[in-house]
């Protein structure tokens, strides 16, 4: 595990300093677009609070909503399948394709299928899957996985994309114009949409009250795939439910503003019934979610609507890249979700954070992300999974934070904490900070973080 942990992978990413700076700045720019858009809504905080409460309600009534959704979707002519884990999900999808004698499928963005390793599984059974989101197609051609849940190829420079297109799609060499490359992908994927009898999509929201589900894209690839195919398979984590249609008004206002600073995605498509004579199948996937629901300290992570804002704002994510997290969902939220599935394998991830709290402050559903990361550290250390070097840091950290005297002395003692919390300074004990040209360690802001955290207030200006 040590050979593959976040710090080691981040070191690889950090070899190319220009790329790191560019990655960092690009994501920060997206974060700023988010701020600009969000500031236009005076009711933003109430919107977040409402969304958070709706999600709490969902988590506390999930079994009822699941049954209600199943009943209503079934009435609408949709077929519901239940998958306890990734393997069962993949088997259901394969079974559906076999039943219809389909060996080629087009897919739009679905992080759940990444989590389940669907593409590889289908490939091993002779099924060809083409990802149709441009960013996902690019990483697929590169033989990689998305490095960001909203911006799958954010780690790639246009020159590299041009080379991939030259190799696989026949564009002239050394052409890296985004307009030209996008047009090439459009022509290439149009042929795919027109010839595939099955289309798989993710699900952004599913409505218990009506049995419909919503898929959001900017490119229109989900709709092109599903509206031409005979069989539409929608893969959905059980936490994607919301109670009523009117709640979409809340979540669709939040999702894309938080993700990219757009007021809404170009397409927010509501699937309620299949086309005449065609089929819609929904695979409801648990894969550890019901376990996470039972972990009191971590269940809030299931409120996530996958906007990616916590990644865009995270200083560690921005400077280490999504692949360093060696899990389907990277960044702060991924670091909470992954250890639930495998504590040993993902023990390093909750440590890949400065606990600065920026993630929690931008999260549209108010998940206490940095607090959960801190709690995972405690759990992992107790269980003996924490990486050795980090363990020392962790113990110092724990000693400091565990002391009520230190904890409550925000000002001076807050600064003293910095000295003894190696995760926040450039220190050999912390592999994270090797080679990094970070802004000055947050001597002041760590103290401020304490104060803010204790007062439960929001990030200024957000």
């Amino acid at each position: 595990m040590e050979s593959k942990d976040h710090a080691a992978l981040a070191e690889v990413f950090n070899k190319d300093e220009d790329r790191v700076s560019w990655h960092d700045e690009t994501l920060w720019w997206i974060r700023q677009k988010r701020d600009k858009n969000v500031h236009q809504l005076p009711e933003w905080e109430l919107l977040r609070e409402t969304a958070s409460q709706i999600k709490f309600n969902v988590l506390s009534n999930l079994s009822t909503y699941l049954e209600q959704f199943e009943k209503n979707a079934t009435c609408n002519g949709i077929k519901i399948h239940w998958a306890a884990d990734a393997k069962e999900h993949n088997d259901i999808v394969l079974g559906l394709l076999k039943e219809h004698q389909i060996n080629r499928m087009v897919k739009s963005k679905s992080m759940l299928t990444e989590e389940c390793g669907l593409n590889d599984y289908l490939a091993s059974h002779g099924i060809d899957v083409i990802d149709s989101d441009l960013g996902e197609r690019i990483v697929q051609l590169a033989g990689e996985h998305p490095s960001h849940i909203v911006l799958p190829c954010i780690h790639k420079k246009k020159g590299e994309i041009g080379d991939l297109f030259h190799k696989y799609l026949g564009t002239p060499s050394n052409v890296d114009d985004p307009q030209f490359l996008t047009e090439t992908a459009r022509q290439h994927l149009r042929e795919i949409f027109l010839t595939r009898r099955a289309a798989l999509t993710g699900v952004n929201f599913a409505i218990a009250e009506t049995g419909e589900f919503v898929v959001c894209t900017n490119e229109g690839n989900a709709d092109m795939g599903t509206n031409l195919a005979e069989v539409h398979i929608a893969s959905m984590g059980i936490e994607k439910l919301i109670p009523k249609r009117e709640h979409l008004g809340v979540f669709l206002r939040l999702l894309t503003r938080s993700a990219t600073g757009q007021p809404i995605t170009t397409y927010s498509s509501h699937y309620s019934k299949p086309r005449d004579g065609k089929q819609i199948h929904i695979v409801l996937v648990d894969n550890g979610r019901s376990v996470q629901l039972g972990r009191e300290d971590f269940r809030n992570s299931l409120k996530c609507i996958r906007c990616g804002a916590c990644m865009n704002t995270c200083p560690v994510y921005r400077r280490s890249g999504g692949h360093s997290y060696h899990t389907a969902v990277a960044g702060p939220i991924g670091s909470i979700l992954a250890p639930n599935l495998d504590m040993r394998k993902y023990a390093d991830l909750p440590f890949a954070s400065t606990l600065c709290g920026s993630c929690s402050n931008v999260c549209p559903v108010k998940i206490d992300i940095h607090q959960q990361l801190y709690k995972w550290r405690q759990v992992l250390v107790k269980a003996g999974y924490a990486p050795t070097v980090k363990k020392i840091a962790m113990q110092l950290m724990a000693a400091t934070l565990a002391s009520p005297t230190l904890y409550h002395a925000a000002g001076k003692m807050g600064r003293a904490t910095i000295k003894f919390a190696p995760f926040a300074v450039n220190n050999k004990l912390n592999p994270w900070y090797k080679q990094r040209d970070m802004p000055a360690p947050p001597k002041e802001s760590f103290g401020e973080w304490y104060a803010r955290n204790r007062a439960g207030s929001q990030e200024p200006g957000v």
Binding site: P42, L59, L62, W82, P178, G220, R245, Y267, S290
Partner: protein, 198 residues
């Protein structure tokens, strides 16, 4: 035990104590307070900002006039009966792949949303579900007095109406996946032209 029973039992066992749903009225009131005075103007500004084009027109003749200039060539599929002499179309389900060569699709929308530039379209207005996506250019006609301020108002309007498929469409298809450079015309229409009628 089937996976269904297993999952439902595990969820029921692990879910926390019931938490009530929030009242949406406080939020809706706050959103209403922030509404712009001129919804139409706001809509046009936002639509233009996301790469769409707005036309304020008084009649279907006006629309025909503009379309004849803007889209003189190529296959047109029109689902709006008031719009003569543009081609009416009856595309059969078995034939939807033939829509692949459509240059321009013309559809109506139920209403528009000022805060995000979207229009709400359901299946019966699309003719075929794939039409507004597969065309090279999209024209949407919406009554100028049917502009709502926010998504809260939008869902009040939609209420509990039933549809097989419906979509909010906000601007042309786009992507910024290559180094965050915005490109219009990813897989769907390269342009979205909204005619605000009345």
């Amino acid at each position: 035990m089937s996976s269904r029973e297993k999952i439902l039992a595990a969820v029921a066992r692990n879910q926390p104590e019931a938490v009530a749903l929030p009242d949406l009225n406080a939020l809706k009131d706050a959103a209403q307070l922030a509404e712009p005075a001129d919804l139409l103007e706001k809509y046009i500004t936002v639509l233009t900002g996301i790469g769409g084009t707005a036309y304020q027109v008084g009649s279907y003749e006006d629309i025909t006039g503009i379309l004849n200039v803007q889209f003189p060539e190529g296959r047109i599929v029109n689902t709006v009966t008031e719009l003569h002499p543009h081609h009416q179309s009856h595309v059969f389900e078995d034939d939807i792949h033939s829509l692949e060569n459509v240059e321009l699709a013309i559809i109506k929308a139920h209403f528009a949303v000022a805060e995000n530039g979207a229009v709400w379209v359901t299946e019966e207005l699309m003719g075929k579900r794939v039409l507004p996506f597969i065309c090279q250019h999209l024209v949407v006609i919406v009554p100028a007095n049917q502009v709502v301020a926010t998504m809260h108002k939008a869902y009040e309007q939609i209420s509990n109406r039933s549809y097989g498929y419906g979509a909010f469409i906000a601007g042309p298809s786009k992507t910024a996946d290559i180094e965050q450079s915005l490109v219009l015309g990813a897989h769907g229409p390269r342009s979205m032209n909204v005619f605000l009628l009345g």
